[in-house]
Symmetry: C2
């Protein structure tokens, strides 16, 4: 290693901020009057601002009075579904899938996916999201958009058993040839849709491929209580037991939702040998009238719970900041315990646990030397965030996604002072508007799947 | 009436917007490409934009692509408590009151109240709130701040029976001498704290004064289930029955919270002869782990339910837009019915029902000729609100308070393009910071009340 003063100028120097960091016990702490030094896309150092004052740098951001946080991570979404934001409202999940989403998705083209993903990236960058785990179709288009937007992405090509083995093979092919793309910003997963649309042999084959190729499996499971009851009635097993039987609990596994995880499933999860994680998207559970993810029980098992928004067709937003706030509020409400899920716990879910959920717990999710320089700067000077008695509470319960002023991934500034630098929103919205009539037509009676649980 | 063309120029002309209006059945509708003409603080006309193009006006706002909504109404808050935002987090309500809020409030000065109210007005104007119902102490300071900020306010000076008859007398004196202030923007109410801090005779005397002077009574009641159980155990009556016995259900009555309203209370409320309304502040109920307001049952009784934020010491924000979103989400969740409380129903609570809750249902809460010109302009061009399939869903589930760009009360522009025109935030925050150590001192063992339910 060259001594710092012989390395030449830093690539980026952010000075004057308060930085959210984790102590040796992973507890949330704040360093005041701090400078973040970035070289080669990595955090090189966190220094007292005074020490950094004379440091040469190619790019400088004066962030006095702002808070630097690890960028938010959207642990489960379907970005192209922003095209359907608000199209099917106030409906039970059966009608939502069968009468709206799956008929419309039979019209989907790669260009629709590209435009939707691009609009979603704009929304996420403006909301302080620096990484997203996407689970959808036509994922080459999403990978290309992620690359051009500058975001980090964890991508899986979805499949149903109704597609035959080709579905699984395409997901594997995509995962293998795409991982490491965009200078390493893209990682990949196998993406079976769910235990209710992918059968046992297909899930078992997926588990084998995951272990053989060192890939995570990202899927929906135990989305709600009704699915668990239906699975018990028809297969004699909960969805989590179905995953275990398929060998998926021996693989790296990212389970979306899990609001239907049964009491008996905790023992099953406790004996898993793979690295299991859950993504919680609390807004949609409220909207569908479901239970919420059992975060406390999962925490007791050491299973990380990352934050997510699901797709905007059900969730209406890709606002991970709101997911953090709602996780704090809904977990208190569900347990009827105002002392559970404190603001600092919510920030831990939003940072390290979200990174761990994607298998990226060593490279992102914390502001520390050696980690990728994925961070956001937040303005807490607004009247709605003043005064600050406890910065953790201010961030979780008073601040909003719209208070993010600057978003940075791998040291590249994607938004500065609320101005997007890598995505053309107006052009994307204009082209999308022309395509919406064809995309949303439901008259031909086709749908890509049927929801029957 | 002079014909319009002989009236001279309009005071304000807003052109090019989509306006949220109510049809003859109070249903939410949207008028596209619309102009709003304001004269003497009143909406003079809603016209097709083309008809308004040549109209002379002293002030013009080009609002192409923006949505005009009736200004939001915060039906129950304690504005000066923004000074304590985030100071006592993740606590049960007993500790929150007894160890933090009531000891701190024993230090309260009129200057603290003034600064807090001013900061709160800034937050509310930025969040699209044009009217607030405040229930606190030192209300002359709040009235002065409301007047200078340009906001509309419905103010009550709080009292406990522990203050003797002087508490009630001060509340009456304030209500009588302040109503109609600020060119009519200020209305007033009597403000007993709650049935658990104001005794039966005091509540009965309040009811008589309300009827005698034509004043609304604004109080907390049945805030949570535990209060109702405590009231039944100690008095043999629910809090709602205590109000009935005191004669308060024969007066105009604004009940804050009501999450502890019992099944048996609906029959009691059904026989009320006064104009009863409820204010719901759903964020705090989640945070304390309480039930939520029974909006469906109240709707079935024809009781308007307005939206509220409570004080920021418990609620962390005065964001009524969030209260609207959470009302939609939490009501679906509480009833486990995704079809209940649609986006349009949420907008009805946010507009006409909130106006009715304050007894102002004929003058604000809707964009219609003859009503006060209290409105906000909302930008829905951002990536998080595109595309728009259903504007009601976009507003309730995708847009945010931060999308309000312009806030207008009585035709006066209080914020334009996100710039506050009537409140100095930096000066207020700076002076408040100096005063916080004295305000938040809890070492002398005094408190203004004790929470015992």
């Amino acid at each position: 290693m060259t001594p710092r003063d012989a390395q030449g100028p830093a690539d980026l120097l952010i000075s004057g901020c308060t930085a959210l960091v984790h102590d040796e016990h992973q507890r949330i702490d704040f360093l005041e009057d701090c400078a973040v030094v970035v070289r080669d896309g990595v955090i090189d150092a966190l220094l007292p601002a005074a020490e950094a004052a004379g440091l040469p740098a190619r790019e400088r951001i004066e962030a006095d009075g702002q808070v630097a946080l690890p960028g938010f991570i959207n642990c489960h979404t379907h970005t192209p579904m922003v095209t359907l934001r608000g199209i099917a409202e106030d409906l039970p999940v059966e009608e939502w899938f069968n009468d709206w989403i799956w008929p419309i998705e039979s019209n989907l083209t790669e260009r629709d996916v590209e435009l939707g993903a691009r609009l979603a990236c704009a929304e996420m960058i403006r909301g302080g999201v620096t990484c997203f785990a996407d689970h959808y179709f036509e994922m080459d288009a999403v990978a290309a958009v992620a690359a051009e937007s500058g975001l980090r992405a964890h991508l899986g090509w979805a499949y149903f058993s109704s597609q035959g083995p080709q579905g699984r093979e395409r997901s594997l092919d995509f995962a293998l040839r795409t991982r490491g793309a965009a200078d390493g910003r893209i990682t990949t997963a196998l993406a079976p849709h769910a235990p209710y649309t992918v059968d046992g042999p297909d899930l078992a084959a997926t588990a084998e491929l995951a272990l053989e190729h060192g890939l995570q499996v990202h899927l929906h499971a135990a989305e709600n209580r009704a699915q668990t009851e239906h699975s018990l009635a028809t297969e004699g097993r909960t969805p989590i037991e179905v995953l275990e039987r398929a060998g998926l609990l021996d693989a790296d596994l990212l389970i979306a939702h899990g609001t239907g995880i049964a009491e008996s499933d905790f023992a099953v999860l406790a004996r898993a040998t793979g690295r299991i994680a859950v993504a919680t998207a609390p807004r949609g559970y409220l909207k569908f009238g479901w239970d919420t993810t059992p975060v406390k029980e999962l925490a007791d098992l050491g299973i990380p719970v990352g934050l997510a928004t699901d797709g905007a067709a059900s969730n209406n937003t890709l606002d991970v900041w709101e997911a953090m706030t709602l996780t704090a509020l809904v977990q208190k409400s569900a347990r009827r315990d105002p002392t559970w899920l404190t603001a600092r716990q919510a920030l831990h879910h939003a940072t390290l646990q979200s990174a761990q959920a994607l298998g990226l717990g060593d490279s992102i999710g914390s502001l520390a030397p050696g980690r990728r320089a994925d961070l956001v700067l937040v303005d807490v000077s607004g009247p709605h965030t003043q005064p600050v008695h406890d910065l953790a509470a201010t961030l979780v319960h008073s601040a909003r996604a719209s208070d993010v002023v600057t978003t940075i991934v791998d040291g590249q500034v994607l938004m500065r002072d609320r101005k997007l630098l890598t995505v053309d929103v107006a052009g994307t919205v204009a082209e999308l508007a022309e395509r919406l009539p064809a995309l949303t037509r439901r008259s031909d009676g086709t749908r890509i799947q049927t929801y029957e649980t």
